[in-house]
C-alpha cells in the first residue's frame, strides 16, 4: 500500500514535469510559426514568473499550511535586487543570459534573507494572526523600497534612505529612484529563461516535499502538537519551507522585473499577493500542477476577456466567486459529482457491453 502511494506521487511529479515541457515546446513552436498574438507573446515571461510565484506560495500555504498575505513582498525584494544587479553587472558581465542567471541568484539570496528576517517573528504566530503579520510585512517592504535610493558611479554602488542624498561622481547614474522605481531596465528575460526557472522551482519543491524534511513539514501542517511531540523541530522545518518559498519568489521577481521596462514598488502590493493566493487556492492546495495551470490561465484570462472591454474585471470577479461556490458548496458539489458519476458509470456500462 505504501509503495503504491509513493509511486502515485512520483507519477504526478513526472506528469507535472511533462505538462511544463509540453507547454513550453508547443508555445515555442507556435511562437516560431508566428501563431501567437503579440500580446500573448509579451505575456510569456510574466506567466512564467507568476507560475513560479504560485508554486512557491503553494509551498507555504499548501505544504506548510500557513496563510501568507504578503508573498508579493518577496517578489518585490527579488525584483529590485535583480534589476539593480542587472544594471550593476552590465559592464562586468556582458553576456545577457549569464547576467540574468546571476541576477536571479542574487535576487533569491536577498529574498531568502528577507524570508529569514520575517520568518523569525511570523512563524511564532498561528492562523489569522500569522496572515495579518505577513500582510503587514508586505506593506513594510513596499514602503521601504519606495524610500530607497540607489545609484552607481565609478566608486561602485551607493544607497540612501528616505531622502535622496546621493552625490554621484560624474558619469554616475541613479538606478533605484524611490517611488519612481527603476526605469529603463534592459529586457534580458526570455521565455526560455522562464521555462528553466519553472523547472528549477519544480525540482526544488518536489525534492523538498518528497524528502524526510518535507514529511516533517507536512506533519506540522496536519497536527503541530503531535508532530512536536515526536521530536520534530517546529521552527527549523517551518523556516525551511518559508525561506525556500521566499527565495523562489525572489527569483521569480527578478525574472519578472527584467521583462519589464520600468518597475515600481507599488506594483507589488497587497493586491498582487492576493492575486497569487487566488492562483494557489483555485489550483488546489498542495497541488503543484493545479497552481501552474491556474496561474497561466488566470494571467491570460483578462486578455481573453478583452471583448468584454470595461466589463472584464467584473467578469473576472464573478468567475472567481462562482468557481469558489461551485467547488465548495456541498449541495452544488454533490450535484456535479453525481452527474459526473452518472456519465462515468454510463461510459463504463457501454464499454462493458462492447467488450
Amino acid at each position: 500500500m505504501k509503495k503504491l502511494r509513493m509511486s502515485k506521487a512520483t507519477g504526478i511529479n513526472f506528469l507535472t514535469y511533462a505538462l511544463v515541457i509540453i507547454a513550453f515546446v508547443v508555445l515555442q513552436v507556435m511562437g516560431n510559426q508566428g501563431m501567437l498574438s503579440s500580446t500573448l507573446k509579451g505575456q510569456l515571461v510574466p506567466i512564467c514568473a507568476y507560475v513560479v510565484m504560485a508554486l512557491s506560495l503553494n509551498l507555504t500555504v499548501g505544504i506548510l499550511g500557513e496563510l501568507s498575505l504578503g508573498h508579493a513582498g518577496f517578489m518585490s525584494v527579488g525584483a529590485f535586487a535583480g534589476a539593480v544587479a542587472n544594471v550593476a553587472l552590465s559592464v562586468s558581465v556582458p553576456d545577457t543570459g549569464l547576467r540574468l542567471a546571476l541576477s536571479m541568484i542574487i535576487a533569491a539570496i536577498f529574498a531568502a534573507i528577507a524570508g529569514v528576517l520575517i520568518g523569525i517573528p511570523v512563524l511564532r504566530l498561528n492562523g489569522d494572526y500569522l496572515a495579518i503579520v505577513t500582510l503587514a510585512f508586505g506593506e513594510i517592504i513596499k514602503s521601504i523600497i519606495n524610500n530607497t535610493y540607489i545609484g552607481m558611479d565609478v566608486d561602485g554602488l551607493h544607497a540612501s534612505f528616505v531622502q535622496n542624498t546621493l552625490k554621484l561622481e560624474a558619469g554616475g547614474r541613479m538606478i533605484l529612484n524611490g517611488p519612481m522605481g527603476i526605469p529603463g531596465i534592459q529586457k534580458t528575460s526570455t521565455f526560455v529563461a522562464g521555462f528553466v526557472l519553472v523547472m528549477v522551482a519544480l525540482v526544488i519543491i518536489f525534492n523538498l516535499v518528497g524528502s524526510r524534511s518535507g514529511r516533517a513539514i507536512m506533519a506540522l501542517r496536519d497536527n503541530r502538537i503531535a508532530a512536536e511531540s515526536v521530536g520534530i523541530n517546529v521552527t527549523k522545518y517551518k523556516m525551511m519551507a518559508f525561506v525556500t518559498s521566499a527565495a523562489l519568489a525572489g527569483a521569480a521577481g527578478a525574472l519578472f522585473a527584467q521583462g519589464q521596462n520600468t518597475i515600481v514598488a507599488s506594483k507589488f502590493d497587497f493586491n498582487t499577493s492576493i492575486l497569487i493566493l487566488v492562483f494557489v487556492v483555485l489550483g488546489g492546495l498542495g497541488r503543484m500542477w493545479g497552481s501552474i495551470i491556474a496561474a497561466a490561465a488566470l494571467t491570460v484570462l483578462p486578455e481573453m476577456l478583452r471583448e468584454f472591454a470595461d466589463y472584464r474585471m467584473l467578469v473576472y470577479a464573478i468567475v472567481l466567486i462562482l468557481v469558489m461556490l461551485i467547488t465548495n458548496n456541498p449541495a452544488i458539489k454533490n450535484f456535479f459529482e453525481s452527474t459526473m458519476g452518472r456519465i462515468k458509470s454510463g461510459k463504463k456500462a457501454k464499454g462493458g457491453a462492447e467488450a
Binding site: 500555504v61 496563510l67 517573528p121 511564532r124 504566530l125 498561528n126 489569522d128 494572526y129 496572515a131 495579518i132 503579520v133 500582510l135 503587514a136 510585512f137 506593506e139 513594510i140 514602503s143 521601504i144 519606495n146 524610500n147 528616505v162 517611488p179 502538537i225 497587497f270 492576493i274 493566493l277 487566488v278 487556492v281 483555485l282 492546495l285 470595461d310 466589463y311 474585471m313 467584473l314 473576472y316 470577479a317 464573478i318 472567481l320 466567486i321 469558489m324 461556490l325 467547488t327 465548495n328 458548496n329 456541498p330 449541495a331 452544488i332
Partner: protein
C-alpha cells in the same frame, strides 16, 4: 505643545473612523469566523450613495447618511446571503477568496457605474472650525469622535442587553450549542452583517468628510488599516476594536508629523507586528488555550 495636542486630536479622529470600520470586521469575524475583505468596499459604496444623495439630489446630509446606511445594510445582507452563506461549511481559505472576489466585484461595479474620476466629497458638516485656547478643531473631527463614542456605547448596550445581542455572543462562542438553545444562527449572522455594513456606511461618510477624494478604491486602504486595528486590539472583541482603532490612528498621525510622511504606513505595521509578538492575540484578545 499645542501642535502636539492638535496631532493627538486628529489622531483620535482618524482612529475613530478606523474603529468604526474595525467593528464591522471584528463582529463578523467573531460570529462567522471569516475575514470579510469586501468590508472596505462597502465603505466606498456608502460614501458614494451619500455623495450622490447630497451633491446631486440636494438631500439633507442627515437623510444622505441614513440612505447610505439603508443601502449598505441591504447590500451587506445580500452579499452574505448570496456569497458567504453557501460556504458556511467550506474551508476558510475558500471563503476568504470568495470575499476577495466580492471585493473586486464591488470595486469594478462602482467603476462602471460611477466612473474612475475623482469625486470631491461635499463638506456636509460645515466648514467653520471650533477654536478654543489656540487649538482649532474642525466640525468633522468633533462629529467623528462623538459618532464613534455613541456607536460604541450603543453596541455595548446592544450586545449586552438585547435578545439579539445575547444571541450574537452565544453564536460567537459556540454555534452548535447556540442552535440547540433555539437561536436561529442564520438570522443572527445576517443581522451581524447588516449592523457591520450600516456602520461601514457611517465610516465611509466620516472618512470622506475628512479626506474628500472619492474614487472606487477609496475603501481598500482604510479597510486594510481597520482590519489591522481589529487584530491589534484583539479580533472578535468590541472594546478591542475601539482601542486598536484609536491607537492606530494616533500612531499614524504622530508618525506622519514627527518621523516621516512616506514611512508612516511602515511604522504603523511595524508597531502591529511588535504588539502581536508580545501579545499574540492582540491587546484585548482572549488567550486561546491549546488542547491536545
Amino acid at each position: 505643545m499645542l501642535a502636539f495636542l492638535n496631532h493627538v486630536i486628529n489622531g483620535i479622529s482618524l482612529g475613530s473612523v478606523y474603529a468604526i470600520i474595525a467593528l464591522g470586521y471584528t463582529m463578523v469575524y467573531g460570529i462567522a469566523k471569516m475575514l470579510n475583505f469586501a468590508h472596505g468596499d462597502v465603505i466606498m459604496v456608502g460614501a458614494y450613495i451619500c455623495f450622490f444623495a447630497v451633491a446631486s439630489y440636494g438631500l439633507h446630509p442627515i437623510l444622505g447618511v441614513l440612505l447610505a446606511m439603508l443601502v449598505c445594510t441591504i447590500l451587506g445582507m445580500v452579499i452574505e446571503r448570496l456569497a458567504y452563506k453557501p460556504l458556511r461549511q467550506a474551508p476558510s481559505l475558500a471563503v476568504l477568496i470568495t470575499a476577495i472576489g466580492m471585493s473586486y466585484f464591488l470595486q469594478n461595479s462602482a467603476q462602471l457605474m460611477w466612473g474612475t474620476n475623482q469625486k470631491m466629497f461635499p463638506a456636509i458638516f460645515g466648514k467653520t472650525p471650533f477654536s478654543f485656547g489656540g487649538i482649532t478643531i474642525s466640525v468633522t473631527t468633533v462629529v467623528t469622535i462623538i459618532a464613534c463614542v455613541v456607536i460604541m456605547l450603543a453596541l455595548t448596550w446592544f450586545t449586552g442587553n438585547t435578545k439579539m445581542g445575547k444571541a450574537m455572543r452565544a453564536c460567537s462562542e459556540d454555534k452548535a450549542a447556540a442552535q440547540l438553545m433555539g437561536i436561529n444562527v442564520n438570522t443572527t449572522i445576517s443581522i451581524t452583517f447588516a449592523i457591520g455594513s450600516a456602520l461601514a456606511a457611517v465610516a465611509g461618510v466620516l472618512l470622506c468628510s475628512a479626506y474628500p477624494n472619492l474614487v472606487p478604491t477609496t475603501g481598500s486602504m482604510p479597510g486594510i488599516k481597520a482590519f489591522t486595528a481589529a487584530v491589534f486590539g484583539g479580533i472578535g472583541s468590541i472594546p478591542g476594536a475601539l482601542l486598536g482603532g484609536v491607537l492606530l490612528g494616533v500612531i499614524e498621525i504622530m508618525a506622519k508629523a514627527y518621523i516621516s510622511t512616506q514611512l508612516s504606513d511602515a511604522i504603523v505595521f511595524a508597531v502591529l507586528i511588535i504588539v502581536l509578538l508580545v501579545k499574540p492575540t492582540g491587546l484585548l484578545g482572549k488567550k486561546i488555550r491549546e488542547k491536545v
